[in-house]
Symmetry: C2
Subunit: 191 residues, 2 copies
Amino acid sequence: MEPLLNKAEPLNDAGLRAIAHMPTGSLRTLISDTLCKSFADADFMRVAVFLAEKSYDEGGCPIGAVIVDNRTGWILGKGHNTLVQENHPYNHGETSAIRDAGRIDFSQTTLYTSLSPCDVCATLLYMRGFSRVVVGDVTNASGNEEWLRQKGLRVDTLEDSHGIELYARFRREKPEQDLEDWKGLSSVPKN
Amino acid sequence: MEPLLNKAEPLNDAGLRAIAHMPTGSLRTLISDTLCKSFADADFMRVAVFLAEKSYDEGGCPIGAVIVDNRTGWILGKGHNTLVQENHPYNHGETSAIRDAGRIDFSQTTLYTSLSPCDVCATLLYMRGFSRVVVGDVTNASGNEEWLRQKGLRVDTLEDSHGIELYARFRREKPEQDLEDWKGLSSVPKN
């Protein structure tokens, strides 16, 4: 099968956005193993940010995540927050990508998240044995990076300006939705 | 609408099992507000255990949970672990019931769980602002009860012998599935 994008083409945002939107099981229609292996951390992070953008466009919380096999460089799972889209009180970017990946051994994988993980997701990343987490935004939120390092995970920060701007815009536009997603509806002031 | 079960009938296991299996949005075909309000903690816990039994019968992990409105006594959400059924690396009994309840204020609700919550679920119960948690089995697992109390939640233990026996049987039969559900596939010894 010949994928749509080949190694010769420059990998631009249009390609990375298409990767974000393509179901994980169908990624081989878009990209080859070789192309995927050539991706840098910043490329995977941009895919996570385009998943966040998709969620924003749907009226949801703009947080996305991608899980990559450390050995093959292949994308094993990805997803975005679905608080609004699924009426789901806790399906964050990280959980969504983990659900998409299914019952695999996460100990040889890296999770790229567009926003610093919350307490629940940080605990989950540790309990599912991830070896590495790359965080794309410690400007709008942060705090669990050091805890994850103490638990033995490698944690890298690789800020993506597009993702940071998008999340800041969302928080200005929908501060209550942002708060509900983080701390639950009980934390949102009643009018 | 006249519900199937009325207040005059004794509430036996057959009735509680039917409640466990009935979709939450259709519970009014089975029970009235008045009947639901007459339920004791042990009744709600038995519903959680029958959700665990349903999951066991499907080949899954036998852990169930029910969320009840403190004021009305009405069941707002319920569910069971779906590791096997949905190929889902983290949808525990608690998460499943929270997903079923949707975007509500959990601060005036009680969650009944058939098994002591894991670290991820304990963090989630705190972050979603639950006021009370009732734990039906601290024999097969335990540990986060005190942490939840320190975080301000009321935590009660109300062991259900049927649930404890069921979980012990599951662990004997499928120790690797039990371990995967708790600590991820990376913790399961390779053969």
